[in-house]
């Protein structure tokens, strides 16, 4: 089991209902972690319903859903960025 801090931004934060949380997970990749969350509660299922609209950062670096979770401290989920 790995302990990972999860962070949510923008409408993902609003749908999940909190900006961050710490989870224990046996998931090997970000995609497996998302599956786990979606099965856990309706609000996660809703937040991650359209995965094409979700971007991921692993330890503050942009990453893919296929990124492994081994050794990872923080995973963030958010919509496409709209700065500038």
């Amino acid at each position: 089991m790995t302990t990972v801090r999860l962070r949510y931004f923008a409408w993902l934060r609003e749908r999940v209902g909190e900006p961050s949380e710490t989870v224990e997970t046996a998931a090997g990749t970000v995609a497996e972690l998302v599956d786990e969350l979606m099965r856990r509660e309706e609000r996660y299922a809703l937040a991650f319903a359209d995965l094409a609209a979700v971007r991921v950062a692993v330890d503050e670096e942009l990453a893919d859903l296929t990124a492994p979770l081994a050794g990872v401290r923080e995973v963030a989920f958010f919509p496409p960025m709209t700065g500038g």
Partner: protein
Amino acid sequence: MTVRVQREDFDLGAELAALRAGRTDLGALVSFTGLVRDTGALAAMELEHYPGMTEKALAAIEAEAAARWSLQASLVIHRFGPLVPGEQIMMVATASAHREAAFAAAEFLMDYLKSRAPFWKKETGAAGSRWVAARAADEAALER
């Protein structure tokens, strides 16, 4: 090569003056300023960001620009928090010997920043609040 992420406004003129102060090796100075544009009934904008990652992402984008073009100086300032129409959201500035490099690097910084710096805009207007959708053109600009 400087990056600043801040809640408060910035003084564009003072930033550009500081960038070239005391120097005689610059031939071209380009600046871009992003402003809150009222497209109809915009009352306010809230700019959310990812503290920690934001600074790292902007520094990485600036380092990439410096690796691609011969830049004598560059600056990126991006605000977060509440903003109203007309306010400055962010700026980039690039200084080089020639105009081509300064323009190309400034456009590169903007293209990358739009799609790789963790900021999200929420607009509040007469019809309520909504998260601004990323323009397909902005994510596509990275492919150029």
